[in-house]
Symmetry: C2
Subunit: 630 residues, 2 copies
């Protein structure tokens, strides 16, 4: 454990008052502290899982920010907050780091309820400039003279919101500083022309110096003869009007500083001080190395982006990726696309997360990684579809929210055929509120003519994907959860849109879909052991609801629907209303999710909302007693 | 009527085979044709209403595009398609122009089902680059060598999708040409740093020429002495690496051509030919004058953006703006904001459309026009709210779809207080499918803890707005329709969240909200005259549904809900499910909207969906007979 000098005394990290005491440390001591923080990060994330490489890259940058700004009066806004672990350590939460991403523990993202230093929630990308612009304007209205600092990675720079915000904040001349943490990659290898542009800037000499040198040299060009003098003057004028406003960020209205070495504390601090002096929109371009200080992560930062537990010495993740709905989807899509060159695969910077790496390996010419740009992804798919291609957009449920309008306006109104592979549909666990896949069902069902499949196994996923591509028209979604299948049911059937599992003479029907069917199936056994008989209905094509389905289920006296979706706009709500409109006279109840779901294991969250087999069995037991009384 | 030479014969516009014959006309004849088109536009829009100024500005540009590309093999994608009237005329639809924006007539936007020359639907802004990128990629896959051309206005350039698309299409090196129709204003006065930047470009000399001149002049600088030689070389190097990649669009990866005079056919055609020669992403910057050729529109293009019928000679719109829900909202917001400097108003390029011009006049320092950037608008509001301001975002229902994720991620999860003034909620009429306000109810109700008000009169709107600002927390929406209130009911009550209008001993209850209540109220009288007695329930705070409400309405034997919203995820669906879950044993039915709604008058659309007083009365009469039988 390192020691630091505070008021002349030697103290440990946990005895420092953070972030204030950072300002009192010498640069030498800051270096020690950076080392200690890196060890802490590696040790912790090896046990808890989480985002390692990005945080190793911002140790010096984060320290420099906290040494030069006064949080929480100055507001620091972290974009895609998973780069904020160092910030958490440096604002007094080092002792809690071991609880990272666990139930009731530290969030993996900034969370205002956790600390006054966490300015704004940020699990989704590209929001920080908009937030900072709002905060800077509020400060202006309130007569406050504090700073607002947005810290954004180069990956997040591809999101359209950033551009909308640049356009607005520079117009307003907001007192805000944007720090670009440029590690030359977003989650994995970066894509897009902006990245190419940033790379050019990264590799340029320090920009401010270049400008000065040119101006000096210009002054030295001799003026010989009239014609030449005119030429020289023209050149000088052009240079003044161009070079002096050169970068894209200056074109958008920022003062641009950089590129700065993000691991050189002195250089960083000089840039921070300069940035503070303008009181206008300033863009500070900082070069960092993702995974800095931990060799396995430096060598392969993509693998250490969001990871499970791993062995520190070997660098090997404890749990191998293995099979998952994502890989099952990715592999089947390759199978289909090999035989049909109309099929194109699209991802918004989530090639690995969505299992599209197989597609990239086998059919790279029809795989499109558009960057963190879900809006463009959907409308781009619309363009492809309008020409007879069959685009398949693989996307996390939570990120698809970004493209609601495009799904309506650029796909559904025109009746274009787009297949959505919706990954991480349902509860995702440790990432918490910002990442839960809770809204795709209400979102998609609200759009006329949409079809939704929700398979309960890999095998069904393959069937559904094939149906979605070949048997359906228009907007079709296949949604599946994070992780691996759990299949305790062994029902030997052909694929069907829905399926009853019947006992003899049961008057109770339990409806479900997706992975919850497995829980319901197990609950049926538990109940059977108690002498309670239930029939099951598993929906696979969950929307639109088949015409004859309502009449079939109306044969039961009691119907209960268990659904892993937010309650409003869910399938169980639609079935409820359809039963009412059909004058059903039995009892109907439903168990779904209400509110936002905090971080915890998936199992714990499902349990909390009554969606595990035990809770399902309990619920039916109680209903059964009530129905007996009634 | 002008005459044109075709195969040596004199023919009229309607005898030309368009767009092919355009290529055979001399430039002189094209000028005549431009004049004829302008007259046609002014005459038609003066009768039908629609978008005049933007179309007057693109007459030469559109002609030049069709002379240099082969539609429909080459694909022309119009961004915010309301600038496509000239395109419609030049692709053989001149004779139908008088049916513009009417039921079963020509759409005010491009519509593939209308013509093979209409590549893609576009009512919302900033989609064209994404669409074109998709089309260009499909052509690549299919081995086609045609061109894809996106035509986008400077206003639409502020939408984040454009930036996402630039990043992607330049990375892909797609064979596509982007034509920026820069008329220096979006819908009204433009805002944002990008606009400032474009203005700088507009006012520069022709850019390609500047480059050439500089290079020539550089060659003329004499090299005198060693030290100077080094300086000159450095200057030259810097100029090469900077000036030759100067504009923001070149930074993003485009070849940039411009600025071009958009009313000079020869200059336009030269640029088109050059653009075609690259087979890479090319950006052609064309300067146009909005309203060109019609003085009232040139002088005041904002007023002639989207207009009602007007008198050609005076230029006066026949129908004055007058009172509307928008102005009632705008005026009340000023009243409240004058007394409370926490209140900030936000618009996404719709200051006039949303009634915020009053706010702009009285409290300009707290009005934010962020450009066509709904995503940024919401997250910017989140930043303001996190600092204790009270942001009010006035936005059309259909455009709010762009910000679904931001409402969830940047407002609702953090419990921040944002008030939405949702204008054009419900059916909007002539703009058709792309502009109907049909999805805000399912969209917002899916988000936990959201509150929605739907007033039925100006007076209620004021109450609701005040409640939303002061009595509620979190995300609160006040939604109201396009146009003026129609209030035939005179119910003298205090404001309340819901209200029953009771007859004696009626066993039928009709529920509704918003402007449909007025229809229901009139239907009640019609039915009463037939001896059919109904009670009414008007919801004003429509969500969440009050706890005791279900129990109150369960007293009725028959319940019917009339709702101006898409059916899935609507309030009537939620009430249906709640009744079912509460074991209601009466009859329940609901009338709402299914599918996308085509252009027509609002009245006609309401009638089609059974939401006018006559249709409502008919529906109840039939139910009443059925119930009598049952």
């Amino acid at each position: 454990m390192n020691e630091y000098i505070k008021n002349g005394n030697r103290v440990t990290l946990s005895e420092l008052s953070l972030p204030e005491d950072l300002k009192k440390l010498s640069v030498q001591q800051c270096w020690y502290l950076c080392g200690e923080i890196r060890n802490m990060l590696i040790n912790t994330v090896s046990k808890t899982g989480g985002h390692l490489a990005s945080n190793l890259g911002v140790v010096e940058l984060t320290m420099s920010i906290h040494r030069n700004f006064n949080s929480p009066d100055d507001k620091i806004v972290w974009d895609v907050g998973h780069q904020a672990y160092v910030h958490k350590i440096l604002t007094g939460r080092a002792d809690m780091l071991s609880t990272l991403r666990q139930e009731n523990g530290l969030s993996g993202f900034p969370k205002p309820e956790e600390s006054p230093h966490d300015t704004f929630i940020s699990g989704h990308s590209s929001t920080s400039l908009s937030v900072a612009c709002g905060i800077a304007e509020a400060m202006r209205i309130q007569g406050k003279e504090n700073y607002t600092v947005a810290v954004i990675g180069d990956g997040a720079m591809t999101g359209g919101m950033v551009y909308e915000a640049m356009n607005n904040c520079c117009y307003l001349q907001s007192n805000m500083i944007v720090i670009l943490n440029d590690n030359n990659m977003s989650i994995s290898k970066s894509v897009g022309s902006l990245e190419k542009y940033l790379t050019t800037l990264r590799n340029s000499e320090e920009y401010l110096d270049t400008k000065r040198r040119v101006e000096k040299n210009l002054a030295q060009i001799p003026v010989v003869g009239n014609k030449v003098a005119k030429s020289v003057k023209q050149v000088k004028d052009v240079i003044k009007s161009t070079i002096l406003e050169k970068t894209l960020f200056e074109d958008m209205g920022f003062i641009y500083l950089g590129p700065i070495d993000g691991h050189n504390l002195r250089e960083l601090e000089q840039a921070m001080r300069m940035a503070k002096s303008f009181h206008k929109p300033v863009f500070v371009h900082v070069k960092t190395i993702k995974g800095k200080g931990y060799l396995p992560a430096e060598k392969n930062p993509g693998e250490y982006h969001g990871i499970s537990k791993f062995d520190i010495r070997t660098g090997n993740p404890e749990v191998s990726a293995g099979d998952s709905y994502s890989t099952a989807f990715g592999k089947e899509l390759v199978n289909l696309a090999k035989k049909d060159d109309r099929i194109c695969a699209i991802t918004a910077a989530m090639k690995y997360g969505t299992g599209l790496q197989y597609f990239g390996r086998e059919i790279p010419e029809r795989l499109y990684d558009v960057g963190i740009a879900e809006q463009h992804a959907v409308t781009f798919a619309g363009g492809l579809a309008s020409m007879g291609q069959i685009p398949v957009f693989a996307v996390y449920s939570t990120f698809l929210q970004r493209a609601y309008d495009q799904l309506i306006h650029d796909i559904a109104i025109g009746g274009l055929h787009l297949v959505l592979g919706i990954d991480r549909a349902g509860i995702v666990g440790e990432d918490g509120e910002t990442h839960q896949g809770m809204f795709d069902v209400p979102m998609l069902t609200s759009i006329p003519n949409t079809v939704i499949y929700s398979p309960s196994s890999y095998n069904e996923l393959k069937h559904c994907l094939k149906n979605a591509i070949y048997d359906e028209k228009g907007l079709v979604a296949v949604r599946y959860p994070r992780g691996a299948e759990e299949v305790s049911f062994h029902i030997n059937t052909e694929y069907s849109e829905y399926m009853f599992v019947k006992n003899n003479k049961s008057d109770t029907l339990i409806i479900s879909y997706g992975r919850i069917f497995n829980e319901v199936y197990k609950a049926q056994s538990l109940l059977s052991a108690d002498g309670i008989s239930c029939d099951l209905l598993k929906l696979t094509k969950i929307f639109p609801i088949a015409d004859n389905l309502i009449h079939e289920i109306m044969q039961y006296k009691h119907i209960v629907f268990f659904e892993e979706s937010t309650e409003n706009g869910s399938i169980s709500e639609k079935i409820g209303s359809l039963l009412m409109e059909s004058c059903y006279r039995g009892s109907y109840s439903r168990v779904s999710v209400n509110g936002f779901i905090k971080q915890s294991s998936v199992k714990s969250a499902l349990d909390k909302f009554g969606l595990t087999c035990d809770k399902i069995a309990d619920y039916i037991r109680i209903r059964s007693i009530e129905n007996g009384k009634a």
